[in-house]
Structures are given as C-alpha cells and as structure tokens.
C-alpha cells in the first residue's frame, strides 16, 4: 500500500470526470478543439482544492476506485474522442460487455448477502479464478478477441502488481459503475433490436 494506490485510484476518477462531458461533446460532431478544451477544463476542475482536498478526492469519496477495466475503457474512449478513431470493434466491445455483465450478475447479488456463498471472497486468491481464467482466455483466443484479452490481461497484471488499494481481483476486473453501464447498454441494444424487428414486421 503506497502513494501509487492513491494515484491509480484518483487517475480512474479523473478519467471519469473527463469522459462524462465528452459523451455529449462527441455526439453531435467531432471537433478536436472542443475535445481539447473539455479535457483541459475538466483537468483544471479536478485539481481545484476545496477544504484541503481536490475535487477529484470528493469524486473518489462517492465513486470509490474504478476497476482497471474501467480505466482502460475510459482511456480508449477519451483517446477515441480526441483522435476520432475507433479502437474497439463493436462485436468485441459487446463481447466484453456480455462477459462483464455475467461477472456482475454472479458477483454483486452474492456479495450483497443474498446467498450463503460469497463470490467476492474468490477474488482473494481462491482456486476459482485459476480454473476460470484459462477457459475464458481460450474461448476469447478462438474468437480472436484480442482487445478483450488485452483488457483482461492488463487488469490481472495490475492486480498482481497491487496497483489499487484493493487486494481482491474482482476490484480490478469490474466495478459497480461499469456493471451498470454494460447492463444499461445491453438492455438498450435489446430494446432497439426488438423495435427494429417489430418495424420490419
């Protein structure tokens, strides 16, 4: 546990602060100048001190540390907003979303005490992940999901390096905000597909 944990935690919150307005900036029309100004403005806002703590520390108080997967996805999103490139192919992105949604459905209800078994405890070094990870990796290799494999590998390596305050692998792979985001996206996609099918009929 050291300052690196705090920097990593604050960095995730900083990316979230920057990404939130970019969602709106990016939608109508991509403009690198607007993106740059937005990033600069949010950076300045994030380090603004209030009662001896920067704004970003207040954000961290509410959001808690984001997972490395979130940090990775937010970085890709911000880089994409700036350059105009898409770094994550849609089918791969949706595959990652499905994996995260499944993981969240296993993790959160049990961790909140809805079962006698706590799936969160597995993240402290139980044999479960040692068995699940190779199967997941082989499945993703067969489907050539290189970006998903890269995200997962980075998250696991960050866990082994102890980058965040947490000593639990789950906290590096997923966080509640990411789970909510992928769940809402999945429901939105499903509804859109249903509407499309109905209009075709």
């Amino acid at each position: 546990m050291n300052a690196l944990n705090h920097y990593a935690g604050l960095f995730g919150c900083l990316l979230l602060l920057i990404a939130l307005p970019l969602v709106h900036v990016r939608c109508p029309r991509f403009d690198r100048r607007v993106v740059s100004i937005t990033i600069f403005a949010m950076l300045s806002f994030a380090v603004l001190p209030i009662n001896s703590l920067p704004v970003i520390a207040y954000v961290r108080g509410v959001t808690a540390d984001l997972s490395i997967t979130s940090v990775f996805l937010l970085s890709i999103f911000i880089a994409g907003a700036y350059t105009g490139n898409r770094y994550f192919a849609l089918p791969e992105k949706h595959r990652l979303h499905r994996i995260l949604m499944l993981a969240g459905l296993i993790l959160y209800p049990m961790a909140l005490g809805l079962s006698p078994w706590d799936s969160y405890g597995m993240g402290y070094g139980g044999v479960g992940f040692a068995l699940i990870l190779p199967v997941l990796f082989v499945g993703l290799i067969i489907r050539r999901s290189w970006m998903v494999l890269l995200v997962l590998s980075c998250s696991i390596l960050a866990y082994l390096a102890g980058l965040l305050e947490s000593t639990n692998l789950w906290d590096y792979l997923i966080d509640i905000w990411l789970f909510l985001y992928v769940s809402v996206s999945a429901i939105w996609r499903l509804l859109s597909r249903l509407c499309r099918n109905r209009s075709m009929i």
Partner: protein
Amino acid sequence: MNPTDRQLSVFFLLVAVILSSVFIARWLHQPERLFIISEPGSQNVGGGAFFHEQFISFGKTPETHASSIARRADGKLIAVWFAGSEEGAEDVVIAGTVIDPVSRTISPSRILATVSGTGTATWRYIRKLGNPVIHSLPDGRLMMVYVSVSFGGWAASSLNIRFSDDLGQTWSPPRRLVTTPSLNISTLVRGVPIDFDNGDVGLPVYHEFLGKFAELLILDRNGIVRDKHRISWGRETIQPAIAPLSARHAVTMLRDSSEVDRRVKASRSNNAGQTWSVPSSLSLPNPNSAVALHRIDGHRLVAIFNDHREERHDLSMAYSPDAGRSWRVFHRLEYEPIAKERVESTFSYPSLIRDQRGDFHLTYTWKKRRIKHVHFNLVWLEQKI
C-alpha cells in the same frame, strides 16, 4: 489463421498459463490459520474477589458511544470510542484513553482520529466517523480499525486501519480497507478481533446495506486484507462477537436485527472460522443490540447483553457452561426504568477482554453520554456463577 493471429494466440495462451500458474501457486501456499487460545494468567490464584467500575469518559461531548478496549504490551489498557455532538455528526472524533488496571488511574482522553485527518490521509472526502475497534497484536503493536462514511448513512460505511508501534502514543496514517465490490461500502466493525497462529488477525465485521449479515475479515500482520469468510447471510444478523474455544472451534453471538424473533443468535465454526453454521436462536433476548462474548476456560463462556426484547435499559451478564448452548443470567450490571427520552436509560455496545493476569475488562456505553469501565476477576466471576 493469419500469422499475426497465430502470434497473438500463442502470446495470450502463454499469458493465460502464466497467470493460472501464479493463481494456483498462491492458492497452494495459502497458510492454514488456527485460532490462538489465550489461557488466563495465574497471578490471581489465591487473591480475593473484586468487581470495580468507573467512568473513563466524562461527558465532555453530548454523545459518546461504541467503545472498544485492548490490553497493551506494558500491561495497561487502552480504550477507544467515538464522541461528538451527536452520532453521525461531522464533529465526531475517535477518542481514547489509557487505563492502569493496578492503580485504576485514567489518562486524559486524546483524539485519535478525525474526519479531516482521515480524509486527507486516504485522499477522499469523508463526511463522518463511526464505530472504532482497537486490538493488541501478538507482537505488541496496536491496531485500530474504524468506520468512516463519505455519503449517506451507516449503510455506506467503509473501514480505515491504523497501527501504533509505541503503545498508542503515535499512529500510522489511516489506510482504507477494501472489503466489498459495491463502491466499497456497507462494512462496519464492532466485535473484538481474534488472533491466528500465523500472525493474521480475524476482524469480525458486518454489513448493513441491502443485506444485514456478518463476516470474518482476515488481515495479515500489516493490515492487508487476505481473505474473508461469511458467518451469516440474509437480513437478520449483524455485529458478531467471536469466542475461539480451541484452535479450530469457535462460537459467535450475533445481534438480531429482525423484527420477529428478537433473541441473540449463535453460529459455530469447526475449521478455524472458514465456514460457519446457520445462526440459531439462543434463550437470551436481544433488542437489536450488540453483545460481548468471552471464553472463561474450556467450554465456559461469559456474555454481556441487554436482557430485554425491546429496550436497552438492562445490561446483564450471562454464563454458559457448554460452549454457548445453554445460558443463565447471573448478574445485572445496569438497570433503569425506561425513560421517556429512551437514550436516558440505555446501556449498550459492551466490549469485553481479558488482561495478562486473566482479569476481565468490560467497557460499554452509559446512557450514550459516557463510557464505563468494569474490572472484575475470575474469583468474583466464579462466586457469581
């Protein structure tokens, strides 16, 4: 498959093999933890019975609550609690005092943690502080864990940990413990921690968000979370008080948060706290309040609890000769008729330990305004039970 795909496949396969090997190696090298059973000292043999009580906080703040006591390596005791204008207020601090069990002198209370100090050290906004727990580690250091909240009520609690190498004179900066995946909220402490033979510490914790349940958090000697084991689940049992009976066996008493049964619950472990039996009701009533538990010797236990199903106006002592299966109330510590202002007649949150000589030390909240310390020896206890 094109050459790039082939290279990537080999690369990620290698990554998978390496990561799995690391996880398997870690799993295989997980230490087997056994409870340390502290045997009572022998200095009291032949001595007379005594029971002594005194206040250790003096009502300087309108509200004082949730004390915890630990024996220091020098034989003195250190007690901590939270104090402020009212529970949940921003001015609440963690305060503490040192008690000399021989001369029974009490040092002036000191502030050990504040909202702003915790926020600055953990690099996050903190709104309020709550329950502290203090524990003396086998190597003589003191460990203090306390609750903090950034937003919302106690259901949004997180834990912070500090250590002291000099008997509580100075403390390390507070560090956040990450214990849940959902915003790291909903973990609180109350019960006395237990020691394992490999140096790890078992910290009894509980959750109050959607579920109300108890867990045993495993910390290593540096306060790093290494594991956790579920004691109960659902929405009924919190604030575990654990008493190890042998290296592998332990019993825990749980506060009953249900509106139905209102009796103290108990759960048992026969594998050093890794798994626990489904909590069952004991004969002792419980008005949704914390219980303290300690082993006397063998399978004999003593518990401090509120002897009423609705109110906390009666604080009593109970004895079990059979590892917590049957209980008999043998002494009433406090009693007051239920006042209109209920807080005026409440006695709650007991914390019970034994010192090096085998004497018992109990602290509890007295009418939410003061902390009382009760010191009694085994001879007194044997006479009473």
